[in-house]
Amino acid sequence: MTAITEPRIGQSYITALREKMPHAVLEERWQTHNQATITVKLDALPEAVRTLYYDHDGWLSTMVGNDERSLNGSFGVYYVLSMEGAEKCHVVVHAAIPEDKPEFPSVTPKVPAAVWYEREVRDMFGLHPVGLPDERRLVLPDDWPEALYPLRKDSMDYRFRPEPTADNETYKFVNDSKVETTVVPLGPLHVTSDEPGHFRLYVDGEDIIDADYRMFYVHRGMEKLAETRMGYNEVTFLADRVCGICGYAHSVAYASSVENALGIKVPARGQAIRSILLETERLHSHLLNLGLVCHFTGFDSGFMQFFRVREKAMTLAEMLTGSRKTYAMNLIGGVRRDILGEQRLSTLKLVGELRTEVKRLIDILMSTPNFEGRVKGVGRLDPQIARDYSPVGPVVRGSGHRRDTRADHPFAGYKLIDTPVHTETGCDILSRTLIRVAEFFDSLAIIEKLLDDTPTGPVLTEDFTYRPHQFALGFTEAPRGEDMHWSMTGDNQKLYRWRCRASTYNNWPVLRYMLRGNTISDAPLIVGSIDPCYSCTDRVTIIDVNKARSKTISYKEMERYCRDRTDSPLP
């Protein structure tokens, strides 16, 4: 472990926890000056996480399962908490689970945000969360062989794909409504799309009473792939491909997780360039979502205009990185390309053009008569639900919570500037849209600021030695919210474990609450407002509770209804 010279941030939380729960904390390890991992006794795990979460302004960023049997004879679970109280830092609560008894007390009853993570760790590692209210599989298909846990080191080759045994899904969708409802299934597959999800809307007439959904139809097994087949430096390119919109944010998060683990000091210029590119990515991503919001509210001319202007952001990325989408700019230790004087000038020119053009388009959008009517008060995310489930990005900021990784835990070039954070209290689609608008203009300002006084010097350092079994967090604020990566280095220049959590993962669980109480024609709009790397949900099954009838409606039809709001497709 490299010596940490800066003063430690976050010690007070651990001290408070030790006082509240004497003898529960077994070990305390610091990865960086503001990242600590504490090992607690297994039965103290739920209370330790709850204390940090609710008593000390913690938010659950991710949870990592790890098969450490070859290292210390146990499985590990790591609950990553982003501490956003007086001291901003990350505290990771770790508990060791014995090999012969692979179960642990579930945290979900105390902290609901843990629900998806615990379902996933049971699927992937066979670690049973005792007391978890939701016993269904999350990631694995329904007919995946029992007792085959993909991420255990001794379970399977990364290329193994069991044959499907059933044609139909047996997944049990949950409906909490008290009245009788009709089911509207939406999804799961579309022949031309790569991001399927299956939604079930439980409706009474036109009103959504409850909703359930399942994702992971296209789980790509990236974590297993990275651990088995790729070298640690190649994974930056794989991380670029986690998302088709905000892949660079993942690449930076991954690279900084390894840099944090090995104590690598990335040159300031490399850091600034990373931030410039992250903001470039935000430009095109937010324009995409603003375009989609137009599309879903039936304002297709606006959609076309936003996508026309978005092309300038794509050109900007192409000029700076050599590619419109997969930037391939990161290596462990910095970036691969510098920004030259001439590129700087063209960037400033494009930024100026984007500012004037988007200003005009926003003006048009906001003065479109029925826009506000479609988005105001629709898809409400209650601030308390947001507090319980730790959503991220514009979704949580739209419900009044001031959370932005760039400001809370400055990384890369954000250490050099002050990042403004926008919040809205409307809790609706309008709030989320307004936040994206404000952030778009912030991004332009950040790019200008960083280009104006970019630190000089190298952009990449190779001055480090790769050491096995070091771990740390890496994080970025992607356009959709915080991306959180946890990496543990391994032997042979490979990773021992790579845990990658995309921002939308934290936003899916709250969607259910956002859908409740709205009408079916708003469903695509609400789903679009969390800006999921858009799941092309193909069909919707609508189940009318009162009539006990079910009808499957094509997604196209559903989307048409959302835009036109005439000729209801319901039976």
Partner: protein
């Protein structure tokens, strides 16, 4: 509504003539990697650097050849090969139109001859790689004799080198010297 109309008129035609006119790409665009088999020495540095294993090397001892290949279907256009190449034999071009009618056409190959070990005659390494190293040696060696000796070493297979070492050590007669000293 009027604002939108004004924007539409201001914009005019937003589309381009592609594919009927060429599409411009940025100056340092990362497109199709072009391989120059003349300057390539088949050292396999690109094979190791390539994250998706699009570049591969296959050695056929029987035929005494080594085949370099790239599959443009697997390539992610990251340009790590270009960075790794010691001779500048692979460069990313601005070409992005890679569609082909048959899958096999996505793969490009180059076959290199293997040099034989000076001592045993077994295939050793690509002839061009051995020649490349031999050329470099002149720059490092102080005397022509030393250069000749090192060149010979480079063209010898590890197995033979080991054998020669043993023989050399034996010929020094360490045992005898030890005896004498006693």
């Amino acid at each position: 509504m009027l604002k939108l109309l004004r924007e539409v008129f201001r914009t005019g035609e937003a589309t381009v003539k592609y594919p009927f006119a060429p599409a411009e790409v940025s100056k340092d665009f990362r497109g199709k990697p072009e391989h120059d088999s003349v300057s390539c020495i088949a050292c396999a540095a690109c094979t190791i650097a390539c994250p998706p294993n699009a570049i591969a090397m296959e050695t056929d001892v029987e035929a005494e050849t080594r085949t370099w290949s790239i599959s443009y279907g697997r390539c992610i256009f990251c340009g790590r090969c270009e960075e790794a190449c010691p001779t500048g034999a692979i460069k990313l071009s601005a070409d992005f139109e890679l569609a082909v009618a048959r899958k096999e056409d996505l793969t490009t190959k180059a076959v290199f001859r293997l040099a034989k070990c000076r001592s045993c005659g077994e295939p050793l390494a690509p002839a061009k790689e051995v020649a490349y190293v031999a050329d470099l040696i002149n720059a490092f060696c102080t005397s022509p004799e030393e250069a000749d000796r090192t060149r010979l070493l480079v063209a010898t297979c590890p197995e033979c080198k080991r054998k020669h070492d043993v023989e050399q050590v034996a010929s020094l007669g360490i045992e005898r010297q030890l005896e004498n000293r006693r």
